[in-house]
């Protein structure tokens, strides 16, 4: 338990936080903007990793594989959207079904449950060939470039007519229909964007960690929610949309740092999902607990 190992562990967690932050942006879009608890992401994250890894092993340019992975994720999102809006399957189940299906599909795609990328070209190794950067730093650079680009894109997109209608759909569906927009299409669009981002993140994470695994997506939704909530708690709810996107990515980085610290303190890595679930449950229940603590005081004041 020396301090140096803590510093290096926390340092190494930052690039991971940024790369996973892309996934968190996707979860933010579905969960917060669209008000849709989308379970698909567990599947689409691994889908992104699988697609990217298979293509890389077969000699495709790494950056191109990220694009294909993103498109694959978008398709998964569309399927969830169609299940929910056209076939009227409740949101949670409409997400769980593709998530489970994607487990089989991902194994089909990879033809096995795991593809190592050691010795293969990735976006990160290509960058460290161009510039004298360590693997870790080039992961960070790649992550930051993607995040900044995506935040700019999302800020633009959700300011457009279409994007505004998607935001409004998450807010008041009834109104959006009365104002002549097709809320089914809006939801499908939102899920498309969200899952595209998640798969993109999965592709970059698999390239950064040097393998894709069919189980790499397990618990993604909870990690995404934890990051969104951490960002919200630390950076506040108000302010602009761009600031909120920024706080989501920061939330993801902080989440990774916390994980690095608790691992350093000696927690078993298999207990992390338990910890994450507890964090999310606690964060989501804060408003309720606050309320019940405040109410007796209010009554006293009134008397």
């Amino acid at each position: 338990m020396d301090l140096m190992s803590l510093v290096s562990a926390v340092g190494a967690s930052i690039p991971q936080g940024v790369l996973w932050g892309i996934m968190c942006l996707g979860v933010y879009i579905t969960f917060k903007v669209l008000d849709f608890a989308d379970m698909t992401v567990d599947g689409s994250f691994a889908l992104g990793g699988s697609v990217s890894a298979v293509l890389i092993v077969n000699g495709a340019p790494p950056l191109f594989t990220v694009l294909v992975a993103t498109l694959a994720g978008m398709l998964a999102g569309v399927i969830t959207g169609v299940l929910n809006t056209k076939l009227k399957i409740p949101a949670i189940l409409a997400g769980i079904l593709p998530m489970i299906a994607l487990y089989s599909i991902n194994i089909r795609i990879m033809d096995k449950s795991n593809i190592p990328l050691l010795g293969e070209d990735t976006v990160m190794t290509q960058l460290s060939k161009l510039l004298p950067l360590s693997q870790n730093i080039s992961s960070l650079v790649v992550g930051v470039v993607f995040c900044v680009g995506l935040m700019a894109f999302l800020y633009w997109f959700f300011g457009t007519e279409l994007g505004s209608a998607i935001r409004a759909t998450g807010n008041n569906e009834q109104m959006v229909r009365a104002l002549g927009a097709n809320t089914d299409m809006m939801k499908i669009f939102g899920l498309l964007i969200g899952n595209g981002l998640v798969a993109m993140s999965g592709a970059l994470v698999s390239q950064s960690q040097g393998f894709a695994d069919v189980s790499m997506g397990v618990g993604t939704i909870v990690i995404g929610l934890a990051s969104v909530i951490i960002g919200e708690v630390i950076f506040g709810r108000r302010f602009s949309f761009l600031y909120k996107l920024f706080s989501v990515v920061m939330g993801s980085i902080i989440y990774r740092m916390v994980i690095a610290v608790v691992l350093w303190l000696g927690m078993k890595s298999t207990d992390l999902k338990l910890l994450t679930a507890v964090i999310v449950a606690a964060a989501l229940s804060i408003p309720v607990i606050k309320d019940s603590l405040l109410k007796p005081n209010k009554i006293k004041k009134a008397a």
Binding site: G159, S164, A165, L179, A181, T183
Partner: protein, 264 residues
């Protein structure tokens, strides 16, 4: 402008909860007609509006609006011709979005929503001018979230949004019922001003008999899914609340209308 022909709607058909909400409704609105709709709870007033707006589809009959058969059009398609204000002030606006964003969404009713910027500069001017008409000072806080507004303010805003693109038909579903009397009066005055200014064809459901008499050029009374009484023109102008109550008593077989109507 609007022709409703032989429209019926039964909810939960074939079950113990079967409810005949509308039975063979025929109603024609001429351009510029302002029709008030009254009736007790469960008379089918709101259902009638929901059929026209496409929340429900007709079991039988047809609905033609401005020459276009909209009987089977989905809600969002026919929205291009309809302006709607709901009873619940929460339903007509998006709370987490700014006033100006809500207006911009309404400004695009019936238009393709593409990838151009959601609010353009010249629009801001239009919204500023329109918000002034409400005399609520909202034009100075266009970037406030709608969730911060009171129920009356939200309802006035919804009314503005419903008429921002001139609708072929304005549907008002007890849009002042959730407001306090003073605010309700203000919103009703605004409603009348907007309707008169643009000559809007309007269907207004209300629980308040006085309002039903005071506003509009035609009045219809509904009971158990049917239109049981209709009055217009001079006859409507000379109508008294007592006449309506008596009328209501004879059609429903009850001496008195329900409490809400008596009190209002």
């Amino acid at each position: 402008m609007l022709q409703i022909t032989g429209v019926s709607k039964t909810f939960n058909a074939g079950t113990i909860n079967e409810k005949k909400a509308l039975i063979d409704i025929n109603l024609t609105l001429l351009p510029g007609d302002f029709v008030t709709v009254i009736g007790g709870n469960g008379a089918g007033k709101s259902t009638l509006l929901n059929m026209v707006s496409g929340v429900y589809t007709c079991d039988t009959g047809s609905i033609v609006l401005d020459g276009e058969n909209i009987t089977f059009q989905p809600e969002h398609k026919r929205a291009k011709m309809l302006g709607r204000v709901f009873q619940d002030p929460m339903r007509g606006t998006a709370a987490d979005m700014e006033i100006i964003e809500n207006l911009a969404l309404a400004y695009r009713r019936g238009k393709r929503r593409g990838l151009s910027w959601g609010i353009t500069k010249p629009e801001r001017e239009i919204y500023h001018e329109r918000l002034k008409l409400l005399e609520l000072g909202l034009e100075t806080r266009m970037n406030s979230k709608v969730g911060l507004l009171s129920g009356g303010q939200r309802q006035a805003l919804t009314l503005l949004m419903a008429t921002l693109q001139k609708p072929k038909l304005l549907l008002l579903d007890e849009h002042t019922a959730a407001l306090d009397p003073k605010t309700a009066k203000q919103v009703l005055h605004l409603t009348r001003d907007f309707i008169e200014k643009d000559g809007l064809t309007t269907l207004m459901v209300t629980h308040n008999m006085k309002d039903a008499i005071k506003y509009g050029n035609r009045l219809i009374m509904m009971h158990e899914g049917r239109i049981v009484y209709e009055v217009s023109g001079e006859e409507k102008k000379s109508l008294q609340v007592e006449d309506l109550l008596k009328k209501f008593g004879t059609v429903s077989g009850n001496e008195f209308a329900n409490d809400r109507m008596l009190l209002s």
